[in-house]
Amino acid sequence: MTTFNFDSKVPPGPLAHKWDEHRAHIKLVNPANRRKYNIIVVGSGLAGASAAASLGEMGYNVKCFCIQDSPRRAHSIAAQGGINAAKNYPNDGDSVFRLFYDTIKGGDFRSREANVYRLAQVSPDIIDQCVAQGVPFAREYGGELANRSFGGAQVSRTFYARGQTGQQLLLGAYSALMRQVNAKRVELLTRREMLDLVVVDGKARGIIARNLVTGELERHAADAVLIATGGYGRVFFLSTNAMNSNGTAVWRCHKRGALFANPCFTQIHPTCIPVSGEHQSKLTLMSESLRNDGRVWVPKNKADVKKNPNDIKEEDRDYYLERKYPSFGNLVPRDVASRNAKEVCDDGRGVGSSGLAVYLDFRDAIKRDGANVIRDKYGNLFQMYEKITAENPYEVPMRIYPAVHYTMGGLWVDYNLMSNIPGLHVLGEANFSDHGANRLGASALMQGLSDGYFVIPYTLGHYLASNTFSKVTTDHPSFAAVEGEVKKHVASLEALGKKGGTKTVLEIYRELGKVMWDNVGMARTEQGLKLALKRIPELRQEFWNGVKVTEGADGWNKDLELAGRVADFLELGELMARDALDRSESCGGHFRLESQTPEGEAKRDDEKFSYVAAWEFKGVGAEPALHKEPLAFENVDLAQRSYK
């Protein structure tokens, strides 16, 4: 009964030659024929915009959908610190292999070697591409590009544009996209939300989208559908993701048959501004690059946690990352830094009003380099921090705490970035492919642009040239059928308000977030996960029994939009808990308390869990089917990660 093709399609041959060999042999679409193909790109972040721009320029007919009013607002824009590339400009020992190795190791050996190697291989091209577009990367006085260090690496390979690298890279991709819009090679559809995938004869042939201004459901047909809708971190309610970030597009594809891989692999970013109260709508990240100069500490003595930090003497401070991990110090990977912050707070040494915060202190860096140097590097971050907390980080240490930030899991894709549904391709954070169980800092931007600029332009052509396509228009019965289901779904959401429930959508959503954070967050246990598996269906039931939803599906209605996304999160969250329960090892960001080394580090079980967990949907509330893609490591030794 399982009809999907479960072949990773990793090309044969030595690791370093796979991509070149593959590119040399895959099929091409003749330039004159490209205009005959219609391509849908859902999402306009780094992956979506770069893909749409590149494919439009090649001559395909592209429609690009974005949920905001402009593609420039996609959440890639909020990435602060930088983008990795194996340029080795600082001559400090970097290479394609080392970037590959750091990424595989950082991901705790739960990603595919071939994909990661390709990512490292194309990384230098990304920098060249962005510079050619006029991206104003930071420069040295000699005019060359500047680099900085990021967590999980011992080389400086991160390129940056002040503290707003994501913004500048996205604006580069956006400008390339708008150039194609101007050339009429890309049609831009803004304020649209994809609500379903249309599969015809086993192939992805279109989508149903809702126009968020008019409320109208629209049918769009194509020869291939590219999903670049980002991650699903907002299942936790509080995260660093944007208000419109959601899991609906990937979840609807999953419900249409696309496998969901490693859903429990989520990243908790160590340096975010702590929660200030119930009213909190989202969390704000402080770039990991701050850990280059900031020192993380808590008081040694519990008695000192409420003291003014500047009054705590040097010998009474515990710089716990430097103490425990002398070789990486404050630059350990994100999962390690987050877990250690949780540990010291659980130990009663957390600071701030809630006791759920640690200090990130720039005192020594300011003393060493001067405030101006620090301002030059991080000025906008310091300003952002001060705006939110009303505290001046030049004078008092920042208070930070981990927050949900990124999801490594996502729709399963093969080497060509195609899901198990032919024609359905998945790019960027929406797929699962490159980061294993933990993503290194400055690698999300790299992956989004790698997928969009340098992978999909080749692999999509191969798919199109290798298949024949019957003519499918939006008049095809499949479109009417799927549209009918979506219409029914939207109507049932709208009807929730009439059932007499007293809670708002936001209230249920907050509860879901709490269940997820407490049980499927930084430390997971069998007991907690089982509790989540009980609580989530209960919340789902409560939701469908009736919540306050604002009526009006025939126009702009943010409350109704949110209800649809929460309805999907109430299903997706359950799959995450199930996956986390099933994987009884610890790896990367997935930390099972039952599986740790004597030092309290994540303990993998390679014998049992060296695979990608790809889940098949079997109905709401029904047990999904688990399919395993074994991971083979031929070029690296599977070592217990150590950053000591």
């Binding site: 590149s54 420039r72 060249d128 000699g142 604006l171 803004t190 709508s281 009003s353 009303a390």
Partner: protein
């Protein structure tokens, strides 16, 4: 230094909010009372909080745009007591915190108003005109593919920094709403300047400035008369020096050889 929300005062506020059902419908200010507002809330969290009560009472919530809520996506933006993004300098609406206000305040909240920004609903406006200005030339015409090594062209740090100052624009449209002429000069000049400063943008500098300025006029934005309200409202403090640069680039383009007449393939 600690900031427990309990230890801080909560405020009672009166809100006068612009309500408009749709683009061609009449609108007016509606009064709401916001009780127990914490000063740690952001301005948009305050609106979320008020909306929760409105939804519970079965009425239609206040519609407004927002996304990243960390001041970088440019999605949010309302006019607060007559000022786009409110009273704090260099602060987008989502970064404005309620500690700026005091108990008993009346706050008037309106959309970003301009002829080129039709209202969609309540505080939500259509800023598509800015995207169309961008598509009229706000790019460097390079293909996706291999390029010269990124260090092949050296860019002096002061030039790269200045280009970055211009590139910091978040495209929120506050400059337009602040300008008595509803001019988009600050927005447009930021992109033109970024690219004109960098060697990569120079080859098509003339056609870029011509295309973008013409599109700006076509969209119904007014002319710049050097008033400077735009700079005061800009959450990223983009300098009006860039408007002067845009004007210089425009004059240069007028007297430049007819480079802009050549199409993609050259004439």
């Amino acid at each position: 230094m600690s900031n427990t929300s309990q230890s801080r005062h909560s405020m009672h506020l009166t809100l006068l909010v612009w309500r408009q059902e749709g683009p061609h419908k009449p609108g007016s200010l509606e009064k709401f009372t916001a009780k127990n507002v914490s000063e740690d809330m952001s301005f948009l969290e305050m609106l979320d909080f008020v909306n929760e009560d409105i939804i519970k009472s079965g009425k239609r919530p206040i519609e407004f745009d927002s996304d990243c809520r960390e001041g970088i996506c440019g999605c949010c933006g309302v006019v607060i007591n007559g000022q786009p993004h409110g009273p704090d300098r260099a602060t987008a609406t989502c970064q404005l915190h309620m500690r700026t206000f005091k108990d008993g305040d009346t706050i008037v909240i309106e959309p970003l108003r301009a002829k080129a920004f039709p209202i969609i609903k309540d505080l939500v406006v259509d800023r598509g005109a800015l995207d169309r200005v961008m598509s009229a030339g706000g790019f460097v015409s390079v293909k996706t593919g291999p390029h010269a090594d990124a260090n092949a062209i050296l860019i002096p740090k002061p030039i790269a920094d200045l280009a970055m100052d211009a590139a910091a624009c978040i495209g929120c449209g506050a400059c337009v709403a602040a300008c008595p002429n509803a001019s988009a000069a600050l927005f447009t000049s930021a992109k033109i300047s970024q690219l004109a400063l960098l060697p990569q943008g120079k080859p098509e500098a003339a056609r870029r400035v011509t295309g973008m300025v013409e599109q700006m006029d076509k969209e119904g934005f007014g002319n710049c008369t050097n008033i400077g309200e735009c700079r005061a409202a800009c959450p990223k403090e983009v300098s009006i020096d860039f408007i002067a640069k845009m004007k210089r680039e425009y004059f240069k383009a007028m007297f430049a050889p007819m480079e802009s007449a050549a199409g993609d393939g050259g004439a």
